[in-house]
Each structure stands twice: as C-alpha cells, then as structure tokens.
C-alpha cells in the first residue's frame, strides 16, 4: 500500500498546468478577481451561494477558446521529453521547479511564408486573445541561438513559435508552426502546431477558411487525442466566422457529442440555441 506509485499514475501536485485544464492569464486573472469578490462580498454567506463569482466564472467560459494558446505553450516545450521519451518524474518529494532563464535570440526570422489571408469577417470575440500564461519549466530550453528551420527539432520550432507569438509576431509564429507540420507530418508535434496555427489564422490573421482546414487536419490526425476538443471547438468557431450557420450547427453537435463534459459545453449549447430555427 505504501509502495511509491509511478509518477505517471499520480503525478506530483503543483501549480503547473495539469491535471486541471490549462488557463490563459486573462481567464486566471478573472477567476482571481471573482474569487476575491465572492470572498469579500459576504463573509458569512456560504460559498456556494456566491452568485457573482459563479457568474463571473461562467462568463469566462466565453473566452476559453483561447485556452489553446496556453495549452500549446505548455505542451510545446515539453515535447522535448515526448520526443526523447524521457518524461520527467513528478514524485511527491521532488524539489520545486526553477524558472527557466530567458535566452537571447540573435537570429532573425526569414520572411513569413504565410498564405495570403482570405478575406472573411473576423471572428466576433468578446475580448482580445489572452496572452500566454508564462509557465516556468526546467530543462526545456529550446537552446536555439541560430535556428535552422530545416534542421531544428520540433520542440525547438514550437518553443520559438511561442516566443514569436508572445511578441505578437503572428506571421513568424505561423511560419514556424507550418514548418513543424511540414517536417514532422502525422506527429504529435504536428498536431500541436496545426491547432496552434489554426487558432492564429482564426483569431489574428482573419483567415477562417485556413483555420478550418488546419483544425480539420489536426482532428483527422488525432481524432481522440488531447487536442481533439480544441480542434472541434475551433471548427465550430471557424464555420461561424465563415457565416455557414448550418455547418456551424453540425460542428457544435459533433463537439457536444464528443465532449459533453467540456468547460465549453454550456457555451456550445447556448450557441446551438441561438442557431435553432
């Protein structure tokens, strides 16, 4: 009974993403505010009755599509361990993780090889895409000083793409995501890159058709993988941006059928109701 469990059975408890779903910094900040509001509103009231906090949290679901940004940011560096099959153990007694020092990048990215965006209406968003939650991770430095896109391993490409995205270089980030997908087709890295690229196209590059194609490709590659939920939600969002209500309704139905317990399920049902004739 007291034998230690392998870390993959019960990973260490910490404040890094997982097992709770990763959050964007915007959503995390909204939660903090609503928790403090709720706690200070009426100290004698039961927590369960704190409507403002719950409502605030529910409203935050509208922004959860941006989870992908945080999610891919968390996944990309860790793909180092995936590719090398060396998942770091998370024993209960492991020391605290230290932030990874930022590295200066001397190289300049080549001009982005982004397809010309098709002209579509921008996706209606209640707020700008949330920035990535900065999650320090040890030993996952991409070690990219002079990155050769044609030779770099996928984890370096994804890590650098995240850097580009952080400075709002959407084209540069997309070029790196596409290089990852092109050089490592059918890999998990390609799925991460594909979904991240699709979200960039949908939310930043106003290219819903391109986003739709990438979400579908990612879903086809890993239909039951950990990003399937984000891909299915993205398909519905892209169809909405393209103005195809029938396709959007089908996408929402598929999303709810596959992910009925998703945090986005209430938003999907609300949208379904709006689309109902």
């Amino acid at each position: 009974m007291d034998e230690p469990l392998p870390s993959e059975l019960l990973p260490r408890l910490d404040g890094l993403p997982g097992p709770a779903r990763a959050l964007t910094s915007a959503r995390s900040a909204a939660m903090v505010r609503s928790i403090v509001d709720a706690a200070l509103a009426d100290p004698d009231a039961p927590a369960r009755a704190e409507a403002p906090a719950r409502m605030g949290w529910r409203r935050a679901l509208r922004f959860a599509a941006a989870i992908l940004f945080c999610f891919s940011g968390a996944v990309a560096p860790a793909l180092v361990r995936h590719v090398k099959h060396t998942v770091a153990p998370r024993s209960p007694v492991a020391p605290p993780r230290q932030p990874e020092p930022r590295r200066e990048r001397k190289h300049d990215l080549a001009p982005p090889a982004v397809e010309p965006p098709r002209t579509v209406a921008p996706v209606p968003r209640p707020m700008p895409p949330a920035p990535i939650v900065s999650v320090p991770r040890p030993n996952v430095s991409p070690a990219v000083e002079e990155l050769d896109v044609e030779k770099a391993p996928p984890e370096d490409l994804l890590a650098l793409a995240n850097e580009r995205r952080r400075v709002r270089d959407w084209g540069g980030a997309d070029r790196l995501y596409r290089a990852t997908s092109r050089r490592f087709p059918d890999s998990d890295a390609a799925v991460v890159a594909g979904v991240a690229s699709a979200t960039l196209h949908l939310e930043q590059l106003r290219d819903a058709a391109g986003a739709l194609r990438d979400y579908r490709q990612a879903l086809a590659t890993r239909p039951t993988g950990p990003l399937a939920e984000e891909a299915r939600w993205g398909i519905a969002e892209a169809e909405r941006a393209l103005g195809d209500s029938a396709a959007e309704a089908l996408a929402l139905r598929d999303f709810l059928a596959k992910h009925p317990g998703s945090a986005l399920a209430p938003a999907a049902r609300r949208r379904q109701a709006e689309l109902a004739p």
């Binding site: 019960l10 995936h82 950990p226």
Partner: protein, 178 residues
C-alpha cells in the same frame, strides 16, 4: 510563500491587492488538487472556486502552524468533500462515464500536462472512495490514520481502499498502454 509572508498579514488586514496576489499564487495548485479529487473538468472548476473562497475566508484563522500551502491544501480538500456531499445527486448522474471521452488516445504526448491529464482521466474511472484515499495518501502525503480521521472511516477501510485503488489504477494504466 510562507506563513510569515507579509502579504498574508496585509491580506487579512484588508489589502485587496495582497489578497489577489495570494489567490493568484494559490489558485493553480488548488485547481489541480480539486481536479485530482473531482470527476470532470466543469465540476472541478466550480468546486475549486468554492474551495478558494473557503481558503480566503479562512485566512484569518491560519495560525502559521505549517506552511500556508499545506494549510490551503487541507482547507481545499475539506471544502471539496463538502461540495461533493452537497452535489452528490448531481454527481451520481455524471458517474455514468460522462468524462470517459476525455481519456486521451494512447498515442497522446507524454508531456507533463498530458501525463497529468491522462492520470486524472484514469482516476475518473475508479470509485470515488478509492480515488479520494489515493489522492490524500499519495498526492497530499497524508497518513492512513489522518485519512481515517478526515474521512470518518476505519483504518482498515482506508487501507483496503488504497490497496484496491492502486490495483485498479495500475490495471487501467496497463490496459491503456496495450
């Protein structure tokens, strides 16, 4: 974050900014802890929020015995069990496997996030009593007597739940790898 953290005193004294900083620091771990204990992301988010509210309201009672982190773990655990008792009926409806679709594909990347999501997906498939014993013992490091006292069940029951829970978890893990 230690018991002597000046933000703690400031937060208790009504400094909202200090309180928000503390909440922001505690929240990720509490969300993870609650997700370990609770089946399904959506319900875990609701309960994590309630646990955080309980922690904030309990801050004035924190006497500095032990770290704030271990104290908040205990408060969050108790708040979670309280919430689960209140929503038992609703949870029973979810026990039919609503989250089974969240079990990732065996080819899922074994990155730390994915690994922890995979682990909790397996936890979602074992009975709650065994799950809670496993998390309290192996994640929070609580002793069997402490778990027995917290859950209000005999020592032997805790040991049995741990033994059976580990066996199921291993079997599920092995089956997923096949």
């Amino acid at each position: 974050m230690t018991a002597a953290d000046p933000r703690l005193a400031a937060a208790v004294a009504g400094d909202r900014r200090a309180l928000e900083e503390l909440v922001a620091e505690i929240l990720p771990r509490v969300r993870n802890l609650v997700r370990y204990l609770v089946r399904g992301d959506a319900e875990a988010e609701d309960i994590a929020q309630e646990a955080m509210v309980a922690i904030v309201r309990g801050l004035p009672s924190h006497r500095g015995e032990g770290t704030l982190q271990s104290w908040s773990d205990r408060v969050a655990t108790r708040a979670t069990f309280g919430c689960l008792r209140r929503v038992r009926r609703a949870r029973a409806q979810l026990d039919g496997g609503a989250d089974l679709e969240a079990v990732p594909h065996p080819d899922a990347p074994p990155d730390e996030y994915i690994a922890s999501r995979r682990a909790v997906a397996l936890l979602d498939r074992i009975p709650d009593d065994q799950r809670h014993a496993l998390v309290l013992h192996h994640v929070l490091g609580m002793s069997v007597p402490d778990i027995s006292a917290d859950l209000g069940v005999p020592l032997e029951t805790v040991r049995s739940r741990l033994r059976i829970g580990i066996g199921k978890l291993r079997a599920l893990h092995g089956g997923e790898r096949c």
